[in-house]
Symmetry: C2
DNA sequence: AAAATACATATTGTCTACAGCTTACTCATG
DNA sequence: CATGAGTAAGCTGTAGACAATATGTATTTT
């Protein structure tokens, strides 16, 4: 067992990533360097390094002399996401099935176990983060430094979108989440078997399921939404 | 026309990018923070920010307590590159043809003009950088934040590989470079016409040409390479 | 009264100095 | 002579103080 003392800076990076993914920090929110540096018990120079790193990873955007902003989600985000996701997911999953090591498969299984616990617990954030981690590991398995950057970028917004549209009340969505978890088990089986073609197909199917969930919110069934309600529900600026 | 005074830090970022792309800084070389900060007339904290940013962009790799290293090119690099490149190039080019703005097309034409000048001049670095810039602009045209990260990562190593295998002596390669430049003109025409399918096909053809050039070096006619050379090529520390 | 300018405040950007880690060299010892 | 530990030098990591830039407010001028 490794003791592995993570530095304050590492904790800072990981916690900020987490806060962005769970929308604990909302898209478009501006970050205060002094405030954050005090919160994580480090000084401003290393914190600024952290922000640069997160900018490189796509979590935040830096504006000269105007600080850091959590990467915004514009009207184009969803459209671009729909274009890029199936291609990258299919490609990385195929490569994962071809290249995965036994140690990585063990980690993936552990991750899936944690993921199912999160589903049972009903904690939206833990479920979203568990799903992100699962697909991150598949990305590691693919072991292609040229595809990983886009995959990581996709997973950021996939996770944030998943948080946005999460709705524990709708039973059919709960069923779809169960189905998604079952597909994760299939991922493990196919990757372990080295069945690249089937794994790529499953990636597309998994994506289609997710897409259907998202679209059911973006293009809702007409009469389900009472229209004269909650005028301030869309209070954040920038929403057309 | 704006005057646009670039800060020292911006100059530093751009110059380091350039040096990595042209192999003025060799893959695997370690960077000295003090040395670089003095060279660019800034202190170490902002330089460290620059290095973090470049790490996020894939130009360098950071090692805890051991400084920054120019992103190495391992034996797997070329193989992974061959897998990812055609897919990403085709996808981004297709999107570029669908989304390019007139202003971007003007910039692409200017870039192509500069590129042809570089070819005439015979300057390998300028030619490689001009090519990188041309394809970067196509990436901007695609306007998809989820695909751009992988494209940028590909262009880094494509440019470095192009520098590695550049050989002005071989006449057939000179002809192939002419052909590549002609294909650039076709890119412009197809993008301007909004012909997405043809643009995607051209991207694949352009890639195949480049691949053939690379492979003619990687898999050379048997007797051209003296084999008993450079025993310590794995652990170079410092590039002089 | 409205608009523009000047000033005050807050936040970002940078520098110097110091602390901590890694490594290479030296010296002692088997 | 080889091997290991101890030590010193150099580099990375961090902190606190200072400089520069943007923003919001208040005042002045038309």
């Amino acid at each position: 067992m490794e003791t592995e003392t993570r530095s304050k800076k590492t904790i800072c990076v990981e916690d900020l990533r987490r806060k962005v993914l769970t929308q604990d920090l909302e898209p478009g929110a501006y970050l205060d360097e002094t405030e954050l540096s005090e919160a994580y018990g480090i000084s401003r120079p290393p914190l600024r390094e952290v922000l640069r790193q997160l900018a490189g990873e796509g979590y935040v955007v830096l504006h000269e002399n105007r600080g850091a902003q959590v990467a915004p989600m514009t009207h184009k985000t969803l459209r671009n996401f729909f274009v890029a996701a199936p291609m990258i997911y299919a490609a990385t999953t195929r490569l994962a099935a071809e290249h995965a090591t036994p140690a990585q498969i063990v980690r993936l299984k552990e991750c899936q176990w944690t993921f199912r616990q999160a589903i049972k617990s009903g904690d939206a954030a833990e479920r979203a983060l568990g799903n992100e981690r699962f697909h991150s590991i598949i990305g590691e398995m693919a072991d292609n430094e040229f595809l990983t950057p886009s995959l990581r970028r996709l997973l950021i917004d996939h996770t944030r979108i998943g948080m946005t549209f999460y709705s524990p009340r709708k039973l059919d969505l709960a069923n779809q989440r169960e189905l998604a978890a079952d597909q994760h088990d299939e991922f493990i089986a196919l990757i372990e078997a080295g069945n690249a073609d089937a794994a790529a197909d499953l990636a597309v199917a998994h994506w289609e399921l997710s897409r259907a969930q998202i679209e059911s919110f973006v293009t809702p069934v007409s009469l389900h939404f009472p229209l004269g309600r909650a005028p301030g529900a869309e209070e954040q600026r920038g929403a057309s």
